[in-house]
Symmetry: C2
Amino acid sequence: MRISELSAASGVPLPTVKYYLREGLLAAGERTARNQAEYGAEHLARLRLIRALIEVGGLSVADTRTVLAASDDPELPLNEVLGATHDAVTRRAAPNRGGPAWTEARDLVLDRAKEHGWRVEEDGPALDQAADAVAAVIAADMPELYPLIDVYFEAVEPMARREVETVLSMGSDDQIVRGVVIGTVLGESLFNALRLLAQQHISTELLDPGKTGDQAGA
Amino acid sequence: MRISELSAASGVPLPTVKYYLREGLLAAGERTARNQAEYGAEHLARLRLIRALIEVGGLSVADTRTVLAASDDPELPLNEVLGATHDAVTRRAAPNRGGPAWTEARDLVLDRAKEHGWRVEEDGPALDQAADAVAAVIAADMPELYPLIDVYFEAVEPMARREVETVLSMGSDDQIVRGVVIGTVLGESLFNALRLLAQQHISTELLDPGKTGDQAGA
DNA sequence: GATAGCGGATAGCATCACTATCCGTTCTCT
DNA sequence: AGAGAACGGATAGTGATGCTATCCGCTATC
């Protein structure tokens, strides 16, 4: 498979494939001559993964490179791959991090986490992002929304358990690492979409209970 | 309050405040002279909301303007505000939308939704985003992850119900609209962060069950 | 009356994710 | 064997985005 075939098979424009090559996201093919190279199925799969992380997961090219580099390294322990993935899917620091209101929000999250018996990694970006969101809700002066924090805690725990179990049962370390990256990034996008779908379903049900033709299964 | 005080109080750089004014995200203050204007608490609150949507929610300036314009319009029905919000928090079309694999993924989501008794809005961006994610998981050839789709469906339904109930019980239409926007955008960010935190907690629990000092509640 | 800050307009800048062009080489087709 | 397309690799250019800087004549404030 030559580069133009790789481009055609993946639907990624050829200059973009070259760009990913340059940026080190995609390994060069096996050179068969000074200016010819052969690409295989693994290159196609990798290219599709790159596009999925960027387009579906919304990662930047730089974050995608970091995550893929981490997942490629067979020496790197799983929790470092997880850390790189978490860095990629969380947002950069809001400017008011560290302020008193933010610290209060962070403590609130930490407190709830402790109540739920979670052992929380305080160094990661996830806690900071949670604090950003809670601080913003507090700053918006919407105390009616506070109970949702606990709703989220309750909904997320069994879900995360199933996710981790699913990924850990995937056999080889290689597969687990792939599962972590894909599951974390694409799972987020899928869950967010389903949340909107569910909100629409529920609000239709509550506000417009007419014209029900469906089975109201549970 | 003059513009420099607004900037200082919000922590937003003054040129950026001017930029938001220009872009129509923030209403002009009450002019007290040809080149002087007075800003009030509502401007400060709005500015904080703008920053929260952009920095915490990750919205673009353009999407933020659209969402805020929709939420400002007292004539606009709630479901149109919700639609604008959904457009803002979902990703733009992936290029392979509409292809056979994508259509299959979309049908899979639709099918699961029907099994769960959801009345799904097929026109919105959420279903498309869900299909993008599912198609990418299928393309990545990771069937082990498929069961997670149902896990997400089960986790999201009661959560979304509580969210919708919470927002709808907020009293005035004004408050509800605010609640929809803030809840949708910041809720997503918060939930995503808590998901990572929970995954970390669970994987620590499963992989490294030593050094437990906490109450292993739940 | 000096001077700092103002609102408004215009221009500039850094980043990002490509996209285009050029080069000399090699493959492919006839 | 010769023509022309495609190749890998390098360099430069592009359009969108989210600010940031500068300038203007005017006004508030000390």
